[in-house]
């Protein structure tokens, strides 16, 4: 289901540097917090910049507050990290579709790479509430880039960690670790494209349903600019295609990550086109 977003003022209520270059900021923004569903994101207007809104996934949400967990990439994330208490922040959200849940009693494996952990706090909370047996496999380049572990464990999730350099948990990729687990009823993935692609291929080959939260460069964050599209299987329910152009032999259509996603079924994504 696609969200009904709104434009809301947000008040900064907490700021924590969770790792070098990684921040967790808390905001009071009642309506957005209340509507947040797993995989929803917000689009933030940074005061004092001349940029389009910054899209960031919603990490935790409780009552009338939510948190964002992000890395300092460039202009906007750096600016957000040092936003002052009294600066007004305008936020649009929640945006995007959401993960769908399996039935009670099923098993889910979540595969997250680095900051790709963000959509999974809300998802884990839902899964556990729905009595889905859930394992989170969290990978990162090294210990210092592994964020969110404590919060997920605090929800009661079974969290396995790994790093490329072995500085924390197993020395492996998240997918390696996930492959060692008993095949689940559903996979969820978020993180760097190579990880998502490998996960998709693994799930597709094993015939396991798999939902991927994708990322692209956004312009409008609202579905109007067509800047954020990904190629998906032609005729997929999420595709925004032109069915009449039937003379063409192409197998793909485009979907907008910002409003048709961010969540897509791994079978629909055409990594190879």
């Amino acid at each position: 289901m696609v969200s009904t977003p709104l434009l809301e003022a947000a008040e900064l209520i907490s700021r924590e540097r969770v790792a070098p270059g990684f921040w967790c900021l808390g905001f009071r923004s009642p309506e957005i917090a209340r509507r947040a569903r797993p995989a929803h994101y917000v689009a933030i207007d940074l005061p004092g910049t001349f940029s389009v809104r910054l899209p960031l996934g919603i990490w935790t949400a409780r009552d009338d507050t939510f948190t964002l967990l992000f890395r300092e990439w460039g202009e906007r994330t750096t600016r957000l990290a040092c936003i002052a208490d009294h600066e007004p922040l305008s936020i649009i959200g929640p945006l995007g579709n959401e993960f769908s849940l399996p039935d009670t009693g099923k098993r889910a494996v979540i595969v997250a790479g680095g900051i790709g952990v963000v959509p999974f706090w809300l998802l884990v909370r839902e899964l556990l509430a729905a009595k889905v047996r859930t394992t989170v496999v969290l990978g990162a380049r090294s210990k210092h880039m592994l964020v969110g572990v404590d919060e997920l464990r605090a929800l009661g999730a079974d969290v396995k960690i790994c790093t490329d350099d072995g500085s924390a948990g197993t020395r492996a990729t998240a997918l390696d670790l996930a492959r060692e687990l008993a095949p689940p009823d559903v996979f969820y993935g978020c993180g760097p494209p190579p990880l998502l692609r490998a996960l998709s291929e693994h799930a597709n080959a094993a015939g396991i349903p798999c939902q991927i939260s994708m990322e692209e460069t956004f312009g409008c964050s609202m579905g109007t600019c067509w800047g954020c599209v990904v190629p998906i299987r032609r005729g997929s329910p999420q595709a925004v295609g032109y069915p009449h152009a039937s003379d063409e032999k192409r197998e793909y259509d485009f979907a907008r990550v910002c409003v048709d996603g961010t969540v897509f079924w791994s079978r629909e994504i055409l990594w190879n086109r």
Binding site: T4, P5, L6, L7, D45, F50, S51, V52, R53, G74, E75, R76, S90, I92, E216, T217, F218, G219, C220, S221, M222, G223, T224, C225, W226, G227, C228, V229, V230, Y242, H244, A245, R250, F254, V259
Partner: protein, 319 residues
């Protein structure tokens, strides 16, 4: 939310040829469409008119990813005119236009004079479409790929061909800033019968992804828009306003009411907001309020009094 035109004492209406808009604030092509998306969080009626994404004859899938990049003060885009083509547009999109709470300006793009004429004529008279804008910034395949809008004669050819077949609504020629001198192009469009000009379209630019040693955008180069290009837009509007009598829709980097006033005073009759929607969807409301405040401050009653105020060479009709 209150539209900018609701203030009783002030006349914010403007005329673009035979078209009258209730206020001079327009959504730019490719950045807002008919408001279906942004209308979820703001009032589309804040716009005096909205401009649709440019429509071509054939469906187009557009460019590969990535299509967008943030740059200092700007946005680089290479969407590649993704769109369903005129047939699909007429069947599925056009029927929705009557419900849009603002005037709707259609936009046509093409790769030959004939394509422009055909697509524009099929738009003419569609209920809800009050004007047709010609996005002449595409390469002209009849002329070895040079861009129409970079050449006065090609621009005139498009406008002339369209004017020969479009009779019910005004035709707006949208010009590119990628020229040494915009005046000859503006004059050629006017002489060919354009009822108004829109400027500027995006500025050509590119960026290299240093880690991968290749262009950031899949299409290599793209169009630069947003506040970074505002001085370039104001300059071209100022120049064009000294060369033609037809009204000008000014755009390029407008975010605030003061930005809009720069364009109006330079010589624009109306202004368009593009990229700023991606940051502040309430921009048209704020712009409307600031324009109204400026009129009150100057004891003006009509927004048209601002047009060309700062430009001693302004050649247009001040109405």
């Amino acid at each position: 939310m209150m539209g900018a035109g609701d203030d009783d004492a002030l006349d914010l209406s403007v005329e673009l040829g035979s078209l009258r808009l209730r206020n001079p604030i327009i959504a730019a092509s490719g950045c807002y469409n008919r408001g279906a998306e942004f209308g979820r969080i703001m009032d589309v009626a804040a716009y005096g008119a909205v401009t649709l994404k440019s429509v071509t004859r054939e469906p187009r899938l557009g460019n590969e990813m990535p299509r967008l990049l943030s740059t200092p003060g700007g946005l680089l885009n290479a969407i590649g005119l993704q769109g369903p083509g005129i047939a699909y547009f007429l069947e599925h999109e056009a029927p929705k236009l009557a419900a849009v709470p603002s005037a709707v300006i259609a936009s046509v793009a093409g790769f030959s004079v004939a394509e422009f004429a055909e697509v524009a004529s099929r738009m003419d008279g569609i209920p809800g479409i009050v004007a047709i804008e010609l996005d002449v910034s595409c390469p002209n395949v009849d002329a070895e790929g040079a861009c129409f809008a970079e050449d006065p004669a090609s621009t005139a050819a498009v406008v002339e061909a369209v004017k020969a077949r479009v009779t019910k609504v005004p035709v707006i020629a949208k010009l590119t800033p990628n020229v040494s001198d915009i005046k000859p192009v503006a004059r050629a469009a006017e002489a060919a019968g354009a009822d108004a000009l829109s400027l500027i379209n995006s500025l050509r630019g590119m960026s290299v992804d240093v880690d991968r040693a290749r262009p950031w955008l899949a299409n290599r180069s793209g169009g630069l828009t947003g506040p970074a290009i505002r001085p370039v837009g104001v300059y071209h509007v100022w120049e064009a306003a000294t060369a033609v009598k037809i009204p000008i829709i000014g755009m390029g980097g407008i975010e605030t009411g003061r930005d809009a006033l720069e364009y109006l005073m330079a010589g624009a009759t109306a202004i368009s907001i593009g990229t700023a929607n991606f940051r502040d969807p309430l921009a048209p409301l704020h712009v409307g309020e600031t324009i109204a405040a400026e009129l009150r401050k100057r004891s003006f009653t009509r927004v048209r009094s601002l047009t060309g105020m700062a430009n001693p060479g302004f050649a247009g009709a001040r109405a």
